[in-house]
Symmetry: C2
Subunit: 513 residues, 2 copies
């Protein structure tokens, strides 16, 4: 019942109508895959042992992988469909009962594996859904996805010959690397002799910065107490005069300031620290200037918004996560370092079995000895392929649209009854932070009781959103501010209508609170 095309031992699967319609019919009845291998006339109980590298495993492999692809294609189309749920929420203990999670001695059939695949996607949060606003990284880019599939298929390691002039790293590790480099630059002896040979160091970052700065300091043996928090203004931007005051103060206490991490796009407020003023202070005091642009760095792709990062060109290093604002599939995070060769000097151990200098090609293309990790997934191909497909103008349009949407949301709710903004003024990034006040709270007097009640509103609305599966948006407290919604927009699928929907949904789910 199959038609297969053979060419020089390369098999290309093409489906004859009988099979195609059979599959389609099975899908309509929801009985996908369970009898899929029966119709081929080969074997109903086909298993992994029938796949490549088994001799003549081509056919079974093609059929199995094509089935997986069909499941994924169905999921993708569904993800973008507003009439589907953002999440089919199940409590973890329920989830445990909905899929067969058991690992056993004996193999399962491929049919069972396909059942697992389907169940996994069924209960996954649809991060590509146009109404999923819950995280900084949302959306699913089709070219990026294709590139990620290809990367898995090539299954090559990143440690030799990659062709881009920076190092790609995992998430918050980039900020830790920057701190590592700054310390090594000032005290190269730390590599061999450790922190015991150094004076007490001091690092500086704003009180709204990402927690990875403190995590990095703990891991690197610097200690979280050596991370000095600089005050922010009411918009969440670092106050340069407070930075300088604290640097001077640290010096007077005998500490050695070695690292300032400015944030371009804070996680909650989306604030951009004033980089020019910070660069001046760093130069004056001889301190390494790092810019954590994990979230905001992508605005450099936009001619309209890149001014927000003015001064970044003077930084010693910068973190940039294209997987956040640019919809590159997780994960894709880069650390850009100004001084060439420093990364290598800091991390190389010259393992002769890996990085032979008698290779027949120019080993300066190899990246392995620059990083702490050895075998690593190739995260950079998807960014490159997306860039090819979109061009810089494509990324720019995508980013500009997200910012336009967030401005639309801001304009819509800033004077709307029942809303209060967490900070005043147009957001600099797509972060819109606000409280929704149900009617019963609106008329209450300001005070502890009102705060206590308001604190519970966002969590309840969020829980209801997840149970209905209609939309998802994040919330959190910050300092002495009770729980508020933090809307972020990074999903290219989102439209003005989706913003309208979010507002209606918040009001629908929260009006009785």
């Amino acid at each position: 019942m199959h038609a297969y095309v053979y060419s020089n031992r390369n098999v290309y699967l093409s489906l004859c109508p009988a099979r195609a319609w059979y599959q389609a019919a099975q899908r309509f009845t929801g009985d996908i895959g369970s009898k899929l291998y029966g119709v081929s006339g080969h074997c109903v109980m086909i298993g992994f042992a029938d796949l490549l590298p088994m001799t003549d495993g081509d056919l079974a492999t093609m059929t199995f992988l094509q089935d997986v692809v069909d499941i994924m294609l169905g999921y993708i189309v569904k993800s973008f469909d507003r009439s589907t749920k953002v999440i089919d929420f199940q409590y973890p203990n329920e989830l445990l009962q909905m899929n067969n999670w058991e690992l056993s001695d004996e193999p399962e059939t491929l049919d069972d594996v396909l059942v697992n695949c389907r169940a996994t996607l069924e209960y996954a949060v649809k991060t590509a859904h146009p109404r999923y606003f819950n995280q900084l990284s949302t959306g699913l880019d089709m070219v990026g996805l294709a590139a990620d599939w290809l990367t898995s298929t090539a299954n090559t390691n990143i440690f030799t010959v990659v062709l881009l002039p920076f190092c790609s790293l995992g998430g918050a590790i980039s900020n830790m690397y920057a701190m590592l480099l700054a310390r090594f630059k000032m005290f190269p002896e730390v590599k061999e002799r450790g922190m015991a040979s150094l004076p007490r160091l001091a690092a500086f970052t704003s009180e709204h910065s990402h927690f990875s700065i403190k995590k990095g300091a703990a891991a690197l043996g610097i200690g979280t107490e050596s991370v000095i928090c600089v005050k922010v203004d009411e918009r969440g931007k670092m106050i340069p005069s407070d930075l300088e005051r604290r640097i001077v103060d640290a010096k007077q206490r005998g500490l050695v300031p070695f690292f300032v991490s400015a944030t371009a796009g804070t996680t909650v407020y989306g604030a951009f620290d004033p980089l020019i003023a910070i660069a001046d202070i760093c130069r004056k005091h001889g301190v390494w200037m790092h810019v954590d642009g994990a979230w905001g760095g992508s605005l450099l792709m936009s001619r309209k918004h890149r001014w927000k990062l003015n001064g970044v060109e003077r930084a010693n290093s910068m973190t940039w996560n294209p997987h956040k604002m640019m919809s590159v599939p997780l994960q894709c995070s880069a650390l850009l370092v100004r001084e060439e060769g420093l990364m290598q000097k800091c991390n190389q151990m010259q393992a002769s079995y890996l990085f032979q200098e008698d290779k027949q090609y120019d080993v300066s293309y190899d990246t392995g000895d620059k990083a702490i990790q050895c075998g690593r997934h190739v995260d950079i191909f998807k960014l490159w392929l997306m860039w090819r497909a979109k061009g810089t103008v494509g990324f720019e349009a995508q980013i500009d649209k997200c910012l336009e949407l967030s401005e639309y949301l801001y304009d819509k709710i800033k004077d709307r009854e029942g809303y209060e903004m967490v900070f005043n003024g147009k957001p600099q990034h797509t972060n819109v932070c606000f409280w929704y006040l149900p009617p019963a709270i609106r008329c209450m007097e300001d005070g502890e009781e009102r705060r206590r009640r308001l604190h519970k509103v966002a969590p309840i609305i969020k829980a209801r959103m997840m149970e209905y599966g209609t939309t998802m948006v994040s919330y959190q407290p910050q300092g002495n501010k009770v729980n508020f919604f933090r809307m972020v927009i990074s999903n290219p699928a989102a439209t003005f209508e989706d913003i309208n929907f979010l507002i209606e949904e918040i009001e629908r789910l929260g009006q009785d609170l």
Copy 2:
């Protein structure tokens, strides 16, 4: 010319014969894809903007992704075909000219993107090829691959609700984490106060251990000088009496021993350190025992070979990379930690915007605050799905077969003319280390000149292998031993014939040297 099946807004692509045969015909002429979008009658110059989330982008998306899948399926079948090259080797500067790498302002068409995809796979090293023996991680598992595609498609972050009782990390980072935990366990104050508050520490590992232990010590502010190298026997195993001597010696010099990293499967010799004796010493001196089982840990899946890790059950932590010996697609690396809750205590920073304690479900399932990283690719799903498909017995059979092949190689060359083993006795893992001596060197007297010539043999043979693309095997020097071949077998596709082929190929390419 297309037949599409619509169901409740879910589109499933099924190809009508006209298109299927048209594609097949194009493939025969090598003109794959370049006119693919022309035949649909829609638009020849289709681009990323026509894909989802564009309204009605379903069709273009399906067609594009199916084309990518076809490219991958062709590549997969080719990868397992012994008549194809392991690598179509090009020098990096040549590679630069063979693909259009330019990133430009304007987008490329999807046709161009497909050309890029094809070119990328064409020049990739085929790590799944049955004659690729170059690295610890080889082979391409079809279920693992399907799981990785699925993971990319779900594109969810790992930081909330995963259901496995350990933390998955990137490569050598696992060893660094173990060191971080050991330090925190002994001196919890290091998290806040840094290394300045601590006495000088000492870590111990064998001189054949992985360089990540030293890299970790450098990064954590401990310093590479504090990593004390323990002697190994002629088989590359740590000598326990030397470990104890050095621990006692370090104490006498005022250092505080806090960490021993034993290796289960060294990178070059494949040696297993004697874990029981090491566990006794660690207990006696109150030192954290870590087992770096990145390469050898998978032998625990084999009833025949697991005795080599006897004693591991007494370790405080263990690194295990299923992406090496078990063919899980890159990357999949785990750190197993005995003490529950320690990972969390060591790394948590309680970022309220991420890990709200007022979530409506049991947050103990969330893993985010246990790790240094935040947004991370989900590496564990592919291991789980493969385990389901193979059962423990499937992994066991795969591992036993690789060890059988390496024993076959060892038996074949140990007394063969022109070969010298780097160490005597049957290898414990799949590592077989040997010199090939071309006839001209065999008759030379032992001495500096012979060593100098032998040192060049492996690099030249390897370079020729890569140019012919017939097979790939690694080489390196170790200590005062000149360059030798290090054969490793982790590819389930390899057979006895492939081992025979390797020997013939080495002799064919090396006899004139």
